[in-house]
């Protein structure tokens, strides 16, 4: 332990003097400020629809709803088709609706959309409009009053997603990227520096083990991670879920660092391993898609450790009747971390003993 602490002290001093520790902390401050001050709390767009209603039906309906204290936000009534198109050109997220009656007295609607409108959403709108105008235009209309009561929705989790500000929702992804992946590259750099300066050879003829050498590097990465994690987490989320989120982050750091040690075993220069680092970065950020769009959650994605980091952090940060995910993430990340630490240490020792750096 005395040796590990001695190595740790040396590695921390070198880390500070090599500026990479300060850079990590500086980046985490910048990310925290960006999330708090620049990234919007909501990315929901104000829905605007330009309506040209030759029948006057929607205006009447709107007036009635207004009297009944019902809001009809985002509806702009115009008096020509050209005004609808003009409005849509000015507001790129707006859609247009033209309502008229055919000679037989049936409603006829025309929906104008922007070129990038989603086909699925358009189909949905088509169905909704069909539904509405069926009600207003018999013989199809006049649905029984309780027609929608036959459908019941039961959520497995309390759905508080909508109330979580968007900028805070990004934090798990930022933590995985900043701390987990950058940690991997930092570890490769630390090891490569010892190889380039040949200081590892001087260490090897001292009565201290390679395992102590690696343990110290892990400790440095964990220390930096605690600082950078706290810098980002506390101002954005506060103390809620801090400890479980920290534990999840640290386990991810150990996984990243172990992968860094494995790569560092084979490469003398950090840039030589960049192909692998880039590949791992892609792989580790892939589960972020699943976090932002939970409908995409194939089983193979769960093999990637960062999947459990992201969902574990998310569960710790935003308690949503989902605390079991925290425990599950800690167990799975631990199950990744333990063998990776052992395998990477042995791989590093064996590569060095092969005499590649003599």
């Amino acid at each position: 332990m005395k040796r590990v602490l001695n190595l740790y002290k040396k590695d921390m001093i070198l880390g500070v003097k090599d500026v990479f520790i300060l850079l990590e902390i500086a980046f985490s401050v910048i990310m925290m400020l960006l999330i708090l001050l620049v990234v919007p709390k909501s990315i929901e767009q104000e829905d605007t629809v330009f309506i040209y209603d030759k029948t006057g039906m929607t205006a009447r309906l709107g007036a009635e709803m207004h009297e009944g204290n019902m809001q009809m936000n985002g509806q702009i009534f115009v008096d020509s088709r050209e005004a609808v198109v003009e409005g849509m050109i000015e507001n790129k997220s707006a859609v247009g609706l033209i309502i008229e009656k055919d000679p037989r007295g049936k409603f006829r609607t025309e929906l104008l959309t922007q070129p990038y409108s989603n086909a699925a959403q358009l189909n949905y709108l088509e169905v909704v409009l069909e539904d509405i105008f069926s009600v207003f235009s018999p013989p199809f209309g006049a649905y029984p009053q309780d027609v929608y009561r036959s459908v019941s929705v039961i959520a497995l989790q309390d759905n508080q997603r909508d109330s979580i500000p968007f900028n805070r929702m990004l934090l798990p992804i930022v933590i995985v990227t900043m701390i987990g992946i950058v940690g991997l590259f930092a570890m490769i750099s630390m090891i490569a520096q010892e190889k380039v300066d040949d200081t590892i050879r001087a260490y090897r003829v001292a009565p201290s083990s390679i395992y102590a050498f690696i343990a110290s590097k892990h400790l440095v990465m964990l220390t930096i991670s605690i600082v950078t994690f706290s810098v980002m987490y506390l101002p954005i989320i506060g103390l809620g879920g801090y400890l479980p989120a920290l534990l999840i982050t640290l386990l991810t750091v150990i996984i990243g660092s172990s992968l860094g040690i494995m790569l560092g075993s084979f490469y003398e220069e950090p840039m030589a391993s960049f192909g692998w680092v880039f590949l791992l970065m892609l792989l580790f950020t892939l589960p972020a898609i699943s976090l932002l769009a939970p409908v995409f959650s194939p089983d193979w994605l769960k093999i990637i450790p960062s999947y459990h980091t992201l969902f574990g952090l998310d569960a710790a940060m935003f308690p949503d009747n989902n605390t079991h995910i925290i425990g599950q993430s800690i167990l799975l990340l631990g199950a990744w971390a333990i063998p990776l630490v052992l395998i990477s240490a042995r791989m590093f020792r064996s590569q060095i003993r092969k005499g590649g750096i003599l």
């Binding site: 040396k10 300066d197 001087a202 003829v205 001292a206 201290s208 199950a335 052992l342 042995r346």
Partner: protein
């Protein structure tokens, strides 16, 4: 919520990996750490023959190497090819040869940087393991040819860091820095040092644990003559205190000056081994350079001094107006070239 089948498979997979690692680690420690007290027939590693027992010959040998081989590719292409030698306690033993001859590989194996693949190494009569243990590293010092120090640490902190790695009593970094002439610059970052200063810092580091076996690789290379002499004085002083020194160099003058015995190594094989004096006597040609006057001009002639050449010398002196006589002995480099047909660079 009951765990899903896929989650259970993941768990089983990870715990299987952990079990594999633990089994592997146990097996590895059995392979590599062969007890010195183990009987030869219990050797679990058939590649390494373990020799135990007391040293012989009436004196205590520090290092005895027998039939040492090493191949980086683990095939028949040997960088060190069947070499044997012994080093007495308190002796300076020089290992001389051109670049790529196998000097550094031999030192790497002896100092524990490289695996002992084939052959025997006895330290004070005890067989050394394939990879040495902490006790061995506590008693050796290694000075590298390349100044491998932490450039972002001061010289003092470099030494302090290394001192804390040892279990034995270590030297005061300040004393070591003074010894190598860096006392005034001890607080400076090593990265601000010249190459020669870094070389001296590395040299000082190799003494931090008071080693009784000291491996030095080109200890005076790149140093000015005055600093080089200082380093040589330290080496001699340590020798007088009982340190055994294994010196690797391609500088024949340093070897001639410092070493009690030297071995010439070429292409992984030792071609000659003796004291510098004996090598010169055995393989060299003592000469006399005579300056004489002939037709009013000063001329010179080099003649051999072997028994059968003495009459030629006497006759020459009798027949010429000799002005000066200088006896000369061959240099180690000349002997090396004579024996190997190659230079040392």
């Amino acid at each position: 919520m009951p765990p899903k089948e896929s989650d259970l498979i993941f768990f089983l997979f990870f715990y299987f990996l952990i079990a594999l690692c633990i089994i592997d680690a146990t097996r590895d420690s059995n392979d590599e750490y062969i007890s010195n007290n183990q009987a030869p027939n219990q050797n679990p590693n058939p590649k390494i023959r373990i020799i135990t027992g007391m040293c012989h010959g009436g004196y205590k040998r520090m290092i005895e190497v027998s039939n040492l081989f090493h191949s980086y590719k683990k095939n028949e292409d040997y960088a060190v090819n069947d070499i044997s030698f012994r080093i007495e306690k308190g002796e300076i033993f020089g290992f001389l040869g051109p670049s790529g001859a196998g000097k550094s590989t031999t030192q790497g194996i002896l100092s524990g940087l490289l695996e002992l693949q084939k052959g025997d190494i006895l330290i004070e009569g005890q067989a050394r393991n394939a990879y040495p243990d902490k006790a061995f590293f506590n008693r050796i010092g290694v000075g590298f040819e390349r100044p491998n120090v932490y450039k972002k640490l001061s010289a003092y902190d470099n030494l302090k860091f290394h001192a804390a790695l040892y279990d034995v009593k270590t030297e005061d970094p300040k004393i070591l820095l003074d010894m190598v002439g860096l006392g005034e610059e001890g607080k400076k970052l090593a990265g601000e040092y010249s190459k020669g200063m870094m070389q001296r810092l590395g040299f000082a580091r190799s003494m931090i644990n008071h080693p009784d076996i000291w491996f030095l690789d080109e200890p005076t290379m790149g140093l000015d003559p005055s600093t080089g002499n200082k380093i040589k004085r330290i080496i001699r002083k340590r020798q007088s205190e009982g340190t055994t020194i294994f010196l690797t160099t391609h500088n024949m003058f340093v070897a001639d000056e410092l070493c009690d015995r030297v071995a010439f190594i070429v292409d992984g094989k030792i071609v000659a081994m003796d004291s510098p004096k004996n090598l010169k006597l055995k393989y060299g040609q003592p000469t006399v350079t005579i300056e004489y006057l002939e037709d009013g001009k000063l001329k010179s002639q080099v003649l051999g001094m072997k028994n059968n050449e003495k009459s030629v010398l006497e006759k020459f002196i009798a027949e010429h107006e000799v002005k000066t006589l200088h006896s000369g002995e061959p240099t180690l480099e000349e002997i090396f070239i004579k024996l190997t047909g190659r230079g040392l660079e």
